[in-house]
Point group: C2
């Protein structure tokens, strides 16, 4: 079985984006009307088609990351949009329970304590069967004004995550800072930033079973694995494996063979989860290979690893990191 | 000949840091007194010893990056500190003209137009023989409040760089944003950010001979080379090689063999310049190899590349990118 733990509903019907546009500009949109057929149509020609053609079985599916936009509007706006977005994910997964498994966004808002997100997390997981969440380390959208992920500011969410036994993917939304291109800089920077926050903290002493997935191949981390091992060593921290690899995992959203090869060489197979982010940041076909850039299954299949490690990456680790997921 | 294009004076005598401490806290420090012997002592046991033991010949030498601290104090404070720092670099390089070649910092200050840095750049290059500069893309120290490097805000500096024929290394200083660890996150993020700014702009149409070195192996860029090729393609930009590889170069400050191997695989040899950043961010010995993490010469020597490419990386590209440098 091949489990893609990182997919967003980037292809939702236009009615959703129209609703959001009206809501975020201060208007009072009419109740959102999207039929089951419209949902089917939005998925059949995109994620489902790609699952079939690439031979993956199931996608952990969450709202579009760039439109979480926690920095837009009030906390109430964020909550309303989040609930709507999560409900729509739940509908997708209910229509295709074998193909999609729900992961939620949270109603974060810059400067607002994350504990206010707990009831929505609880609703999604306990009432609707969500198996994980996306946690935005920078709700300010590229201004990085809230405390680091290792601050007690975030602890109420972690307590709930531990209680519910769900992992968080560390995932920013779009950037309203003109310095940061969203998918080309802000996403990758956030991944690198979160890892270094974890490295310099004792968060996992406080929460030994807390689990984070750092997407996009861990940002810049595996490429600089020697740097991180060395920084930890200079700071008299324990070796990285002991310090955080029981709690921190990386996905395989790295869009070329040499990148995946590097990751598989330096990061233990136990810490890597297969993902493609399709349909996501990069949609084209690589002229060097004739295949989609984001068809990451090909890279993992072509890598020089054992069948046992490949099984962990494609399925085993997902079962361990997302224990609330059980295949249909 | 082996040219290390990225070294900082991290080992300057304590008197310098005492002076700066007094100055940056609003005091009026006495004139800085550091003897030639003190300078010799600060270098002999550190950078010079490592040059000899590792077999490198010359280091392009600039003030310590983390203490540029453009975010501290007024523009006048920044200017005074910058001139003092650059003068000290000039003394190091004059004492050891075969071992060190001077690269300057600029008197940047958040919110202040970069054109105010031109006279110090001119002084360093035209009067003191500096061959390059460090340009801080975020003088606010982790808050990213100034415009992107591709904004006209920066153009006067670029005009002067082109006129003087000197390249800039894109190098941030320390971070006063608690989200960003300096050497573990802010540095790497800035590298990635700058690359993506270049990718989305027409800066090099306006300045066809402008040259930037992105340090620390290009941040997260080579690891995500497929992502960047794909993003450019989706945006209908020209291929990266054509779009920016005549103007953008990467150094080899990546502290493990798999990282260097990846870089050498995906980035053309013409765009890679040897560097170690010693004595810098990571000072320990890697227990996996028994060698210093930052002894990057070993990685380049062990990589499966041609002798011709190795010569470009060790020396040839430095001559081309830093044409004002001529070996003693």
């Amino acid at each position: 079985m091949i489990v893609d733990i990182h997919g967003h509903y980037t292809t939702a019907p236009q009615a959703l984006w129209d609703w959001r546009k009206k809501q975020s500009s201060g208007g009072r949109p009419l109740p959102l009307k999207i039929s089951d057929d419209q949902i089917r149509e939005s998925l059949e020609g995109a994620q489902l088609k790609l699952q079939r053609s690439r031979g993956t079985d199931v996608t952990f599916f969450s709202p579009r990351a760039s439109t979480m936009e926690h920095h837009v509007g009030t906390p109430e706006i964020s909550l309303e949009w989040t609930r709507l977005s999560n409900d729509l994910i739940h509908r997708c997964c209910s229509l295709y329970p074998r193909n999609f498994v729900p992961v939620c966004q949270l109603p974060q808002s810059p400067g607002v304590e994350p504990k206010h997100c707990i009831s929505e997390l609880e609703r999604c997981v306990s009432e609707m069967g969500f198996v994980g969440l996306n946690l935005n380390p920078d709700p300010s959208g590229g201004h990085w004004r809230d405390p680091p992920l290792t601050d007690r500011w975030w602890y109420p969410v972690y307590e709930k995550m531990v209680e519910l036994d769900v992992p968080a993917m560390v995932h920013v939304s779009s950037s309203c800072n003109p310095n940061f291109h969203a998918t080309g800089a802000h996403y990758i920077n956030a991944d690198t930033t979160a890892f270094m926050q974890f490295l310099t903290s004792d968060l996992f002493k406080d929460f030994p079973t807390l689990r984070f997935v750092i997407p996009h191949g861990g940002g810049g981390v595996p490429y600089h694995w020697g740097r991180y091992r060395g920084l930890a060593q200079d700071m008299k921290r324990p070796p990285l494996k002991e310090l955080l690899l029981k709690n921190v995992f990386f996905d395989t959203c790295v869009y070329h063979q040499p990148g995946i090869d590097l990751m598989l060489k330096v990061i233990p197979a136990e810490n890597i989860l297969f993902a493609s982010e399709m349909v996501g940041a990069v949609r084209g076909i690589d002229p060097e290979t004739g295949q989609y850039y984001d068809d990451t299954k090909r890279y993992v299949e072509a890598a020089a690893i054992s069948a046992a490690d490949r099984q962990k990456i494609f399925e085993g680790n997902a079962r361990r990191v997302y224990p609330r997921w059980t295949p249909h």
